[in-house]
Symmetry: C2
Subunit: 284 residues, 2 copies
DNA sequence: GAGTGGTCTAGACCACTGT
DNA sequence: CAGTGGTCTAGACCACTCC
């Protein structure tokens, strides 16, 4: 059993992957189309089936195709992503001063997860944990200080798949003035986190949100019902009060094939009498 | 050559991957540490080398390990990500009305890519292209209208690897008042895009930035010098003028192991005399 | 030169899908 | 049932790194 020398510099499985990728990106193979079977590709490229499988593995890892037992591999349908808008923090802040009835119109969970509450199983879990080194640094508090960790999860009942997941941290010291804030049965809280903080005398000054992307593990993929080749978006939001103190940190995870994060930045107007640009003056 | 039946329900290569993943995440195997060699794992799990290779492929695709020819596989060192701050749009807008000397302190390229200009090869390319269906929709203009496409790329000279890449689109109709805006030799433009738009009478009202993540193709990975298992962050920024018209669209790509996107949202203060929360009243 | 991981082959059994 | 892809084996050659 000798391996024939590669015809080119590029390994054969990469050649196959490149060829198929090109045919997908050029539109010759359209979303939902069946790929050639492994047997057919094996014959076309005169190679062992393992090589073809390797090539398909590459495309699967790039999120371009899906394959499962018994069925032919197909071109992945490009995802339709739900837009997750941020920029409602100001609205949320103004709401905190409004009466309870008005606040009740928007739940805390919805604000955090961005998913409307319907036909899903929400889970909320509160826990007091010692601050890790990382979180202690975020809050500028000693390592091991008490943190209130609040976990929000939403699950799709039929498949059991996770739809949203986020964790929020608050130093217990900041909220011990209002025992209700440590009581998970009080969720969802009318007016959300901004109002919760208002009840202990905290006024928010700004939010800082950072976004990274990671590749989920096989276990993650199973929990979320994700296919191979789909990254995970992870956000960390710092809620900062008007004294520049970090009062809450919240982490959230989003499957990148279902989610698009949208951030808006509104600008103030120039003064009415601002100088108009004069091309003749050549002020470039 | 018979395949022994799997000892459990889980395929062996997943069992091996899970075991190694756990040892990495628990800290038993630390960043930079060598993994057991394929031969050792093969013996430990009494399986063929192909199964072990498959398992390592899984971990590589998750970005947990790196491996190359001749050297033992190692645990990937967690990336240090450069923070890419947004939220300077207001500052940039105010700068547009300032004198040239002041504007010249910040280049257009730097504003777009977030990478300081030093020891890199910047490339700027202008091109007039017909609007695709997608872009026509963004601008609410007829398909096929003239767009000015400006491509910004920065390359690391030694490795030839791409450091940053972004493309901006502007309807030619909007900028024909100033021919310099179609001249790529005028880059970098003092004061950046905001000032460029100012020269044709456009005042910006807001920015809308959306973020998605995708898995790069093998070719992308080579161009950017990325390892397997690292996703790509992609942003699309709409520049919207004070009349709610989309005047510029800009796409940018960032390797997710080197980049963290940071968005800030500043809130206005509550009025001085806002009602203080009264726990006794129990207004929850 | 010994040891590492990368590529490839040929053959086998299995789980699942459709008819 | 035939056909699909998923898993596994055993053996081979190759490219590369390090001693």
């Amino acid at each position: 059993m000798r391996a024939e020398p590669a015809t080119g510099v590029l390994p054969v499985h990469h050649q196959i992957a490149n060829d198929l990728r090109e045919r997908i990106q050029s539109g010759e193979l359209r979303p939902g189309d069946r790929l050639p079977t492994i047997g057919a590709l094996q014959q076309a490229w005169s190679c062992a089936d393992g090589v073809v499988r390797e090539a398909l593995g590459v495309l699967r890892a790039e999120g371009l195709i899906t394959s499962s037992r018994g069925k032919p591999s197909t071109v992945r349908t490009p995802p339709t992503r739900a837009k997750l808008w941020t920029g409602f923090a100001q609205e949320q802040k103004d709401l905190a001063l409004r009466p309870r009835a008005e606040r009740a119109k928007r739940g805390a969970i919805e604000m955090i997860s961005g998913v409307p509450i319907e036909e899903v199983i929400p889970t909320t879990r509160y826990e007091i944990i010692p601050a890790s080194a990382e979180l202690a640094k975020e809050f500028s508090i000693p390592e091991g200080s008490d943190l209130c960790q609040r976990t929000y999860e939403m699950t799709e009942p039929k498949s059991g798949h996770r739809l949203s997941f986020s964790i929020s941290y608050i130093p217990v010291e900041l909220i011990h003035g209002n025992p209700d804030l440590l009581d998970e049965t009080k969720e969802p809280w009318p007016g959300g986190h901004t109002h919760q903080l208002y009840t202990v005398g905290i006024e928010l000054g700004k939010f800082v949100r950072s976004v990274i992307a990671e590749q989920p593990t096989a276990g993650d993929r199973q929990r979320w019902g994700m296919e191979e080749g789909i990254p995970m978006l992870r956000t960390r939001t710092q809620s900062i009060d008007i004294n520049d103190r970090v009062v809450e940190v919240s982490d959230a995870w989003y499957p990148a094939d279902r989610t698009e994060l949208v951030f808006t930045e509104t600008l103030t107007r120039w003064p009415e009498d601002h100088p108009r640009f004069d091309l003749e003056k050549g002020d470039l």
